[in-house]
């Protein structure tokens, strides 16, 4: 494969390199600040601020995952904060449990509550979800107030003990800040690992485009619940630490205003960055000190800052600094191994598929058999139901009747990510890439269903996870090579040309090692050079034994590249066979142009 095209070079001018903070550097400076600096500060009030800062860093780093990366707006995060604080207080005060036990239990219980909170998120999005989170915040508040002696109701709980830590040979309380600081550093480290793992990619993907995530092989349900659980764990941990630090809890400090503060910490510093929560928490913690006499207006200022931030600086302060691009691994020069399937018989059969939308029949008893290892195209006039067919095969829509069988197993009832895992991949008609993500990350998302690392493994960078990632990375680079996008690994997808984005989608689809690849109008909007390039890519894919199913309007292209052509009209198949036969079929001509009658023929 020698094709690297000048058209690609022509568009390089407008592209932007990936912005990624140097995560290791942030981590280092933070660790330094929070572990070493307090040693030089004598005033206990300011020492206390460091502890509070560290606690908020834990909470907001968690919030970053669910709101920043996974895109699930959480306006009631203080509720989770409260759950952690109250759980440990109740265990410690009423049941005399040691903080060493009650803190982890509180964190885990809050994680469980977060998991429950994630369940509505599976069914609703956007403003509804925001409402649910606000209602959740209120709910926790009301439960506490109604809890009588159990929760201390309006008066709260007192006498929460600080864990004993040895700093100078004898057990005392002053080392508490070391514990908190270490936990904060650990949290930031874990969050970094998660974000860099397949989970982080999955969260980014589902934030960008949920349907596209599904067909890329991501189980969106699992990913969303994981995001909620992880962020709740850290919120609970932070809340528990706060309770022990203050020695008391009161529901007054966990109202909607507190949720606003947490949200601001996240947004001010910058979502989706490692340093964002750190910087944001620092600013907000210092705010009462900075505001001094006008502190009474603090909440108003918070509200105003939120509005201004959201409108003018949605990426927070982090976007004001131009961090250098991440140093990536060198592109592999080995050719990619796409599995040879030519000796395997894995036909895809669409049998008697029907679908109607509100009385309009989009597909009627369509019957198509796709032979493995061939390029099979589907053409038909506009409104003939072609895209609906692809949507049904990939699982985004369920057919009203009929079956789709892959390798003689029914797949029409499966979820999109399951279908992808079986080996049926697709790309979309209107190019759908993950806009905020780099080329490389876009392609890596395709590997999601082939990787196995769990949350824990990813959080702590187990050896198996590291090995998996290396292998996936090598394959991704090789695929970028194959489709002609090598050297553009760090480029943000949104800044690429339309044709390049299309090619990127193909690379992503190939990453999941498919047997069959569905391409929905891949030539739409492409220049003729890009179309030629596309043809070469398709031939390369076919040469590797992957079956290609193509839906197109661009008839010359289809006739050129296909082994078989099927023609649909009004959702019905009207012709099928080799290109030459179909092109001259009178039924086909009539479908496209209308009856010629006496004229012209």
């Amino acid at each position: 494969m020698t094709a690297v095209h000048s058209a690609v070079a022509a568009t390089l001018a407008g592209e932007r390199r990936t912005i990624t903070l140097d995560a290791n550097r942030s981590l280092f400076w933070f660790a330094l600040a929070v572990l070493v600096l307090p040693l030089f500060i004598a005033n206990p009030f300011y020492q206390g601020l460091f502890v509070v800062w560290a606690i908020y860093v834990i909470a907001v780093s968690g919030m970053n995952i669910v709101t920043g990366y996974a895109g699930q707006v959480s306006l009631g995060h203080a509720g989770l904060f409260a759950v952690g604080a109250y759980t440990t207080s109740i265990l410690n005060v009423d049941h005399l449990m040691f903080p060493w036990a009650s803190i982890p239990i509180a964190a885990l219980f809050t994680a469980f509550v977060g998991l429950l909170l994630g369940i509505p998120a599976l069914r609703v999005v956007g403003p509804y979800l925001a409402l649910v989170t606000i209602a959740f915040n209120f709910l926790i508040e009301k439960i506490v107030l109604a809890g009588g002696k159990f929760t201390g109701a309006a008066s709260g709980k007192y006498g929460v003990a600080k864990p004993l830590i040895s700093t100078s040979g004898s057990y005392d309380y002053s080392g508490f800040w070391i514990l908190v600081a270490l936990l904060a550093v650990a949290t930031v480290w874990i969050c970094r690992n998660l974000v860099a793992s397949r989970w982080g990619r999955a969260w980014n993907a589902l934030r960008n485009d949920t349907d596209c995530s599904r067909i890329s092989g991501i189980n969106v349900t699992t990913a969303k619940l994981a995001a909620f659980t992880v962020s709740a764990f850290f919120a609970g941990l932070a809340g528990a630490l706060l309770a022990h630090y203050q020695g008391q809890v009161n529901i007054e400090s966990f109202t909607l205003n507190e949720s606003l503060t947490l949200l601001l910490m996240l947004l001010l510093g910058g979502q989706r960055t490692l340093a964002g929560p750190i910087v944001g928490a620092a600013i907000m913690v210092l705010l009462p000190v900075l505001l001094g006499p006008i502190d009474a207006w603090r909440i108003l200022i918070n509200g105003g800052v939120l509005v201004l931030l959201v409108l003018f600086l949605p990426d927070g302060l982090a976007s004001l600094f131009r961090p250098k691009a991440a140093g990536g691994q060198l592109a592999s020069t080995e050719p990619v191994k796409l599995h040879h399937y030519s000796d395997m018989e894995k036909p895809l059969r669409v049998a008697g598929i029907s679908k109607s939308f509100g009385g309009v029949i989009t597909a009627a008893a369509v019957d198509v058999q796709i032979k493995p290892g061939t390029v099979h195209s589907l053409i038909g006039p506009n409104g003939a139901g072609k895209s609906t067919l692809v949507n049904m095969v990939s699982g985004l829509i369920k057919p009203d009747s009929g079956q789709i069988r892959f390798n003689d197993e029914r797949i029409d009832h499966l979820e999109p990510h399951e279908i992808t895992k079986l080996g049926v991949a697709r790309i979309f008609q209107n190019v759908r890439v993950f806009h905020d993500m780099s080329c490389l990350d876009n392609v890596m998302v395709g590997a999601h269903c082939r990787l196995h690392a769990g949350l824990i493994g990813s959080a702590f960078r187990s050896d198996r996870q590291k090995l998996e990632e290396r292998q996936a990375l090598a394959r991704a680079h090789a695929l970028l090579n194959l489709v002609g996008l090598s050297g553009r690994a760090d480029v943000i997808a949104a800044t690429m040309s339309y044709g390049d984005q299309h090619t990127l989608e193909i690379a992503r689809a190939l990453m999941s090692d498919p047997h069959v690849l569905f391409l929905d109008e891949p030539a739409a909007g492409l220049t003729s050079e890009e179309v030629q390039h596309l043809g070469e890519v398709i031939r390369a894919i076919k040469a590797n034994g992957i079956t290609v199913f193509l839906i197109e309007h661009y008839v010359e292209f289809v006739m050129d590249i296909s082994d078989t052509v099927t023609v649909l009209d009004f959702g019905r198949k009207i012709a099928e066979g080799p290109p030459e036969q179909v092109r001259n079929d009178p039924a086909v001509i009539e479908a496209y142009l209308g009856k010629p009658q006496e004229h012209g023929q």
Binding site: V73, A130, L131, L139
Partner: protein, 291 residues
């Protein structure tokens, strides 16, 4: 429990529910044309009631005139929400940023109102009848409550009639369904949107005037109203204003019922619990479609 008490509770619940229903209605008018929910809507209601207090109690202005003036002010405030928090956001429906900006703006309004009117709830004199309950057969009830129910139902019905039967109402519905095609009919969709905001503000003001005499004009009550109004909308179904109103009635009954039969303290837990239940079972509500 005596049946008379039940009837009284019923009316109290309906009165409260009528208020929630009007809040839901005021959400709908914006949502229908702009696909946006103003998370600070409750603050507009509170603003209306506080303005009312200042004018009626402080300025001795007749209630109806105070209502009109307050409605005008709140309508302007609603337009301000659009201008500040929504319009500046590009691609309104795809980005959910307006959730946070309206939320933030609502908090700002809340704080400003607290600075002006203080943090304590203020009494709003009942303007329908006096403080003494009246006797209807064996049932005693506050005339204000009865008045609230009647006014709210009339407004809701009139609103629905407007939407269904007048040309302008149809134009508004068309704009909500398909903005581009609506403009092909010669409808100036931008004016429709602005009109919707103003109407939303007016409804919020009416709501404020109706709820304050029953409870209080509470500068801090905005968020709770926002949330409950939204819950009513969700129960009824986002696409259906009349559904939202009915959802509000249901919510009011649920709340008063829980307060009386279970406990005052747990009533909100039940209300919010109901929301989450609806979200899980039937996110599109009982009358509408998911946005």
């Amino acid at each position: 429990m005596a049946w008379q008490t039940v009837i009284q509770l019923l009316f109290s619940g309906l009165a409260l529910g009528a208020v929630y229903g009007l809040v839901a209605l005021s959400y709908s008018t914006i949502y229908a044309t702009r696909n946006v929910i103003n998370f600070g809507q409750g603050e507009l209601v509170v603003l209306g009631s506080l303005l009312g207090v200042s004018m009626v109690v402080g300025g001795k202005v007749p209630v109806l005139i105070a209502l009109v003036v307050a409605a005008a002010v709140v309508a302007l405030a609603a337009l301000l929400v659009e201008w500040l928090a929504v319009r500046s956001v590009k691609e309104v429906t795809r980005n959910m940023i307006w959730v946070m900006s309206t939320f933030g703006l609502g908090i700002c309004m809340n704080q400003l109102m607290q600075k002006i009117w203080g943090t304590d709830p203020v009494r709003f004199p009942k303007f329908i009848g006096k403080d003494e309950p009246i006797q209807l057969g064996q049932v005693t009830m506050l005339p204000q409550e009865l008045g609230v129910i009647i006014i709210a139902v009339v407004v809701a019905v009139a609103f629905e009639a407007f939407r269904r039967n007048t040309l302008m109402g149809k134009a508004v519905r068309a704009t909500a369904m398909d903005r581009d095609t609506a403009s092909l009919m010669g409808i100036d969709t931008r004016k429709v949107v602005y009109g919707s905001y103003a109407l939303s503000g007016a409804l919020a003001t009416l709501c404020g005037f109706l709820v304050a005499p029953i409870q209080f004009a509470d500068p801090n009550g905005g968020v709770l109203l926002s949330v409950k109004g939204f819950i009513a909308l969700v129960i009824g179904g986002l696409g259906s204003p009349i559904g939202g109103f009915l959802g509000g009635l249901f919510l009011g009954l649920l709340e008063i019922g829980s307060a009386s039969f279970i406990s005052e303290v747990w009533k909100d837990v039940i209300t919010f619990g109901a929301l989450i239940l609806v979200m899980l079972i039937r996110p599109s509500g009982f009358f509408g479609k998911l946005g």
